[in-house]
Amino acid sequence: MWEMTLASLNEILGYWWLIPLGVGLGIFVGAVPGFSSTNVLIILLPFTLGMESGAGMAFMASLYSGSHMGGSIPAVLFNVPGTGAAAATCFDGYPMTQQGRGQEALAIAFAASAIGGLFTTMITLGALPYLSKMVYYFGSIENFVIILFGVALIAQITGGSMLKGLIAGMFGLLLGAVGYDHVYSVPRATFGLVYLFDGMPRVPAIVGLFAISEAFSMVEKNMIIDASKLSDALKEGWQGTKRGLVITLKKMGAVIRSSLIGFVVGIIPGAGATIGSFVSYQQAMSFSKDKEQFGKGAPEGVIASEAANNGLTSGSLIPLLTLGIPGGGTAAVMLVVLQAHGVPIGPRLFQVMPQLAYGVVVAMLVAYIVMIIMGVPLAKSLAKMSFFPTKVLAPAIISFTLIGSFVARGYLFDMWIALFFGVLGYILKRTGYSPHAVLLGVILGPLAEQYFLRALLLGNGNPAILFSRPLGNFLWVLLVLSMVLPALLARFRNRKTVQ
């Protein structure tokens, strides 16, 4: 295996110039709302198809990794998650910016992204053929339980009132039910609008609830940053970056745990980065001693989301490389390139062209090293964008996010959806309901429903099927423990303190 890794590294060094290019483009693409690595790779297909297969895959893997890091920039600075994967980063990243800690938050996001990605890529490199077996253990039941970890967040991020949080979550689940049902294709609440047939569009919902609603709130004040923290933030040199790096290194356990959660979710075909980052955030919040700080600017929240969505990237390549199953949109585009070059996919890839399979992972490894070098020093300069007055930022955010809403699917209708969610988000905030809970319902509701219905169909309608598989049962136990154990531990600690 090591000979293969070295041979792949040697080959990848031949394309060294492509990796920073891919990472740079990925960071840019990730930072622009609405663009994703998938739709950019589709646009660039003529370019990648014209390259050698190894070079094309190295470029795509670099762009894919960079895009997850790039997604954290607008999420942290402006509460603008370009994709679902960066939504959980907003929960704590943006409050940190409001407290004048934008630079620190960005440094944490970049470092956690790069270290988390690097760590799981090394695991992938060491155990690539063996990890493929994991895919066989995850079916509809297991996927359903994993999504429930994310849904459980609704009860945890209630924003003060449990009742209001649950109402918001239920409302989100209802909105998420819009579209054709997953079994018999029966339309639900589409009002005959073709743009809603495939469900509530994700990107407009995300940018509307978070970014546009925040832009509406911004115009009520002059700056994003609290007035009391502004002068300190303006004077800050590299201290924020240093603090961010130190915090990330101190919380290395959280980085490793979150990246592993992302990695496992990544291996499951179809699960995706959004689920990975929400599950990781839920776990970090459940087992944190300072859970009250989550949602108010906890560095652990940024680490949880960013380490998970970058830990996921190498995991998501495993089903593609080892079984020939594209686990998501980006992997599907990679599959097109592999097929265009006549590369055998699945188990035969390791027999016929092992250097290509390992080469993709090595390219990702190099990309994460490049990301540390390229990304972390950018935190200081990028954080300065949060110093712009809101009269400049708010219209810019609304314009960019509306364009982003359009770009994702190419429908003007999606811009109206984004505005609808923007107004909704603003009203929710003003009335003390959690927009985060609504978003969780909109994003995770359809996924949970899909896997739940499929599991029920597999069991001929008998719900006992949900408890029929060992791994599924293990995950159920973990889910219950993650909900109950923190409360029990807190009670135990309180009792100890009283005594």
Binding site: G192, F197, P269, L457
Partner: protein
């Protein structure tokens, strides 16, 4: 005193603008077809078999028609989203649809969408023929169609499909009806998730098109091909037909990837329509197409040309079949 009306300068600008619009519009309408790139609506997601096929064909076709093609993917509601958007595009021949006749005509019958077939568009050419098959894991307990039917008589066997409105789903349901076996059809919302469920053993079998499962051919066994005669014996490794395996005569089920254009364009612009169709035929007959087909991982043995008349007949036949088994497909029977 204020002057009434528009100034001479404004009037002049208006006249120039009107002239530009009239002449410009006329120039566009007189321009030789196609006067701009052709937009292709694909009613399935990117990265799938249709994406690959469209890429292969348009790489050759562009040389014969003289313009480039730009694909956009509008998956959703079993293809309804793509068809609805296609039906709303201008009928100028610059928007085509690349679809799969059988599943999408089934969608038309089951979901009763707002577009009208054959009033709104015509399938002007078919480019391949892809039979529906049932496959199982090579190392699984079920190895033949007889095993599957026997097992289906003891318990409901689970069969993954991409979606309910699909010819392979109907084929499996009719096979169950003919044999008395219980087939529990599980729609996975796409070919890739359905195949994954089959490979990971979540389901007992998968029903799909043959071409889309060839990537996994070394891991799976094709146990029945829903055709009267197996014309793909080598690549399906002698998968039997229902008649050969079980003595059952069934209708043939499969997919035919085809091109569609607005009927209004066809009726009002016969010369342009002929140019479109002829250029496709030339591209199809070009040996380069076989290379392009191979490049995207498809087997050229699936290539099969059908003209407008044959394609439209296939669509009408599929509508009749879907109407006949509508209740079964809606899960009401």
């Amino acid at each position: 005193m204020k002057r009434k009306g528009f100034s001479a300068a404004v009037k002049m600008i208006c006249c120039v603008l009107a002239w530009v619009l009239v002449i410009g519009g006329a120039a566009v309408s007189w321009a030789e077809y196609p006067s701009k790139n052709i937009s292709v609506i694909v009613p399935t997601g990117e990265g799938g078999a249709m994406d690959r096929v469209v890429r292969a064909v348009t790489n050759v076709w562009k040389d014969y028609i003289g313009v480039n093609f730009q694909s956009t993917f509008h998956a959703g509601a079993s293809g309804e989203v793509g068809y609805m958007l296609f039906s709303k595009r201008p009928a100028d021949g610059h928007t085509l649809l690349a679809g799969n006749i059988a599943p999408e005509m089934m969608m038309y019958v089951l979901q009763e969408p707002d577009f009208k077939f054959p009033d709104d568009f015509v399938y002007f050419a078919c480019m391949d023929s892809d039979p529906a098959v049932l496959w199982v894991r090579k190392d699984g307990p079920i190895q033949t169609i007889q095993d599957l039917v026997e097992e289906g008589k003891k318990r409901p066997v689970t069969i993954a499909t991409s979606r309910f409105p699909h010819p392979s789903t109907l084929a499996a349901l009719l096979l169950a009806e003919a044999t008395g076996a219980q087939f529990n059809i599980i729609p996975y919302g796409g070919g890739n998730p359905a195949r994954t469920a089959g490979l990971t053993g979540e389901v007992d079998a998968v029903t799909t098109f043959l071409s889309s499962s060839l990537d996994f051919a070394s891991d799976v066994k094709f146990i029945v091909m829903f055709q009267n005669e197996n014309k793909w014996k080598d690549i399906s490794r002698n998968a039997p037909t229902p008649k050969e395996a079980l003595g059952i005569q069934m209708p043939e089920f499969g997919g035919n990837r085809a091109w569609a254009v607005s009927r209004e364009f066809r009726e009002k612009n016969p010369e342009e329509y002929t140019k479109l169709v002829d250029s496709f035929r030339k591209a199809f007959d070009d040996p380069k197409l076989q290379d392009e087909w191979k490049k995207v991982g498809m087997d050229p043995r699936f290539l099969e040309f059908k003209n407008e008349e044959e394609s439209m007949k296939m669509a009408q036949d599929m509508i009749e079949t879907a109407m006949k088994y509508k209740e079964i497909l809606k899960g009401k029977k």
